[in-house]
């Protein structure tokens, strides 16, 4: 069994029995797609809701709108069946509750909203989610059980969705 770490603004694909991990999600969102037939999982660590319009997008994994579509494409290329995919969505916390409020402060919610919109447009069911709140999360997805483990440090907790 191998564990693949997905860095910020990256995406990776893994197959049974491997695991996918991403650490320290704050306002970023971790989206996992899983095809239960090929037992292939894909994970993306999204930073921002949408790519700038009318400009080239060198790194699609950074944005929810371009990233999720690209992950679906890559998984399909590797043999996953799109119609069998479901999603698990986590992250998008509101880390700082400051009175100084700008768009940057609300980026967590915008990220989650955009992920949900893109998943719906691509007819992928969101099986479970753990989003919002005000704490950071580390996640680990197991391609064998299709369970997503979420760890927080403040307060200390571990749960499975």
């Amino acid at each position: 069994m191998k564990i693949f770490t997905v860095g910020i603004a990256e995406m990776k694909i893994a197959k049974l029995p491997d695991k996918l991990v991403t650490l320290g999600l704050g306002s970023c969102v971790g989206v996992v797609l899983y095809d239960s037939i090929s037992r292939m999982g894909g994970m993306i660590h999204i930073m921002l809701p949408s790519a700038p319009k009318n400009a080239p997008v060198p790194n699609k994994s950074k944005f929810a709108d371009t990233g999720i579509v690209e992950l679906i494409r890559l998984m399909t290329l590797s043999g996953a069946v799109r119609s069998k995919m479901f999603a698990k969505v986590t992250g998008g916390a509101h880390m700082f509750n400051t009175s100084y409020n700008t768009n940057i402060m609300n980026v967590g919610k915008c990220n989650v909203d955009m992920c949900m919109k893109v998943l719906e447009e691509n007819a992928i069911v969101v099986k479970s989610e753990d989003t919002g709140g005000n704490c950071g999360r580390s996640i680990e997805f197991c391609c064998e059980t299709s369970m997503l483990q979420i760890r927080t440090v403040s307060p200390r907790s571990v749960r499975l969705i």
């Binding site: 603004a9 950071g136 403040s154």
Partner: protein, 206 residues
Amino acid sequence: MFDICNIKKNELDFFQELENIGASHAATALSVMLGRTISLRVPCVQFCEYKKICDILKGPENLVAGLLVGISDDLNGFILLVLDNDDAYNLSGSVISDIEAGAPGSDFSELQTSALKEIANILIGSYITAISSLTGLKMNASVPELVIDMAGAIMNLLTSAYGEYGDAVLFLETEFVDEAQSIFGHFFLIPDVNSYKILIEKMGIG
């Protein structure tokens, strides 16, 4: 659009000098408050790939205390003060009496939280006053907010502030060292992209 990926050498030098002045004022203010010497590690302008940003803080899962202040008026952006959780605990304990501090390893007491915010206030207040009088640009600081969480989650703020412009983050960073207690603090000034432009134009080095 000001391109942070193609920042010039003289612009970097200018930001470096700005950070030097702001940080040394802040260190002096904190030294006076604590009654002991606070020294600076070389202040620097970092142009850091966002993949590597958490390495500065010992990895994305390291438990840290982040104190955030918003900057507005002529210049806009954030100042973020980040300490290791244990260092934040010791630092806050050193400005209040032992009786009022909780046992080591326990959660921060209300008084400790407030002490930390006050330290942030003093550091950041003297920092922006120095930069304001140097540049003639006005800056207002918001009330500090304290968050204790994973370094990665806290540093998301920097990455999302610059994410749209490229694959790197530009910030001014200084390490504060309280040698008596071996406390390290990282101090980040994160102007928004437009404020970088304003600073460069104002100083006539564009």
